[in-house]
């Protein structure tokens, strides 16, 4: 009962002051609908999922930066936008305060290329529960690294409640 109340309050606070999260992956099966529904039910209310970065999204990423951006490496950009997700990650890392995570099914993309980003999602096969674990780790790191004390203060309070139950 106590857990249920804390969980409900945590999720409410996370909703009121939600973090904006953008995920771009060309393959629908990764970060799929089921995972996003689970994330929403857990309290991550503001996740936008795209398969490609078009000009509008490219501008949006720079002009109104998301709190967290998760990018696949290959197949998410047209050549006139950027070479690949890694180049977008590099640009956003330099020009915005977004927390940047990259992911690839290929280990060698994550090791060989420039990885000046905040987080690397290296688990290749994720269940919905694994995705939530990964998201909690990313948000935790974001709060420690890139969020100011006053920003998203209600979200942080709610998130810390959720984490206590999840751990």
């Amino acid at each position: 009962m106590k857990h249920k109340i804390i969980n409900g309050l945590g999720r409410f606070l996370m909703k009121v002051n939600a973090l904006s999260i953008c995920i771009v992956d060309d393959e629908e099966i990764y970060f799929n609908k089921n995972m996003l529904i689970t994330a929403e039910n857990t309290g991550f209310k503001c996740i936008e999922r795209y398969q490609k970065i078009d000009r509008d999204l490219f501008n949006r990423l720079q002009e109104k930066p998301y709190d967290i951006v998760i990018l696949d490496i290959k197949g998410i950009t047209d050549p006139d936008i950027a070479k690949d997700g890694m180049q977008v990650a590099s640009l956003l890392n330099r020009t915005t305060n977004s927390y940047i995570a990259i992911t690839s099914a290929h280990q060698f993309h994550l090791v060989n290329e420039m990885t000046n980003v905040d987080y690397v999602i290296e688990n290749k096969l994720l269940t919905s529960a694994d995705f939530i674990d990964e998201l909690i780790e990313i948000v935790d790191d974001f709060i420690g690294k890139k969020s100011t004390f006053y920003k998203n203060v209600l979200f942080k309070a709610g998130f810390s409640m959720l984490k206590k139950i999840a751990v």
Partner: protein, 281 residues
């Protein structure tokens, strides 16, 4: 696409019997009609095959995992429950993924001198061990060991602190070997110890039939006997991973190593001891 036939001087396909359909040693499928050699497909380099195998199949494997998630939302690829059918599906998928990773290993574990964030990720050791002890128990085969129990002498607080994906793969190979080669109803022990510098040593001990030439155990193609469960690549692959780990870690001393020792008990029983030394913890 590279057409190796143009560069092949020996043309062994032309000396085959009429009506032969086969692959030549360059990997080109051919059919000898008697008057001509018909190629059935373009030659594909091993690199292309392995790279695309991983790229294409990963989506299929993720689909299986996602569907298992719909059956039971609590299943995880990090913890396998052999009593839960959805979790068993996840576990079986992990085995396929491990196998594909080995085949495509040339691509997946190419070492780099560049810094990567995931190299320094801190990961708890014990859940990794528990995961693979369960994952490999899922394979039921007449030649695999039955009713192996594990004595796990590893603290729940021990972490792997460097290139944990490589360390995890090496560990999974040694655990798979225990499940393949132990005598039935035996106990296998996995034990940790630490050097003065704080590096982790992991020893894996199990009882098996004696091996004839244990000094060759890490060589490619090594098999204990003809009807062996393995295909002689796992331990060779583990050694390649050790090299990759050492390239990435840039240490000149206390480098990672795997050693093997056989202690023959009698003509039908021996203790096999594998020791991984100098894992960063």
């Amino acid at each position: 696409m590279l057409d190796i036939c143009l560069r092949c001087s020996d043309r062994e396909c032309e000396s085959t019997k009429i009506d032969t359909f086969d692959f030549c040693r360059h990997g080109v499928a051919f059919y000898n009609t008697g008057s001509s050699i018909k190629k059935k497909e373009e030659s594909i380099t091993l690199r292309h095959i392995s790279h695309n195998l991983r790229h294409e199949l990963n989506k299929v494997l993720q689909t299986i995992i996602s569907e298992a998630s719909k059956i039971d939302g609590s299943v995880s690829a990090k913890r396998i429950d052999p009593e839960n059918p959805a979790s068993k599906i996840v576990g079986a998928t992990i085995i396929i993924d491990q196998f594909i990773e080995m085949i495509s290993g040339v691509n997946e574990f190419h070492p780099s001198s560049q810094y990567s964030k995931n190299l320094d990720k801190k990961v708890l050791l014990r859940p990794i061990l528990e995961k693979y002890l369960t994952v490999y128990s899922l394979i039921l085969n007449t030649r695999r060991s039955k009713d192996i129990s594990f004595d796990l002498r590893v603290s729940s607080k021990t972490h792997l602190t460097f290139s944990s994906n490589i360390a995890e793969y090496i560990i999974s190979i040694l655990i798979d070997n225990i499940w393949k080669y132990s005598v039935d109803n035996s106990v296998a022990t996995i034990e940790e110890s630490f050097s003065d510098e704080g590096d982790l040593t992991l020893s894996f001990k199990n009882l098996s039939l004696p091996i004839d030439s244990p000094s060759s155990i890490f060589e490619k193609g090594f098999q204990t006997k003809k009807e062996s469960e393995g295909f002689g690549y796992g331990l060779y692959w583990a050694n390649i991973l050790v090299e990759h780990y050492n390239t990435l870690s840039k240490r000149s001393s206390e480098i990672l190593s795997i050693e093997h020792e056989q202690k023959v008990i009698n003509e039908s029983l021996a203790e096999q001891v594998f020791v991984i030394r100098n894992l960063r913890a």
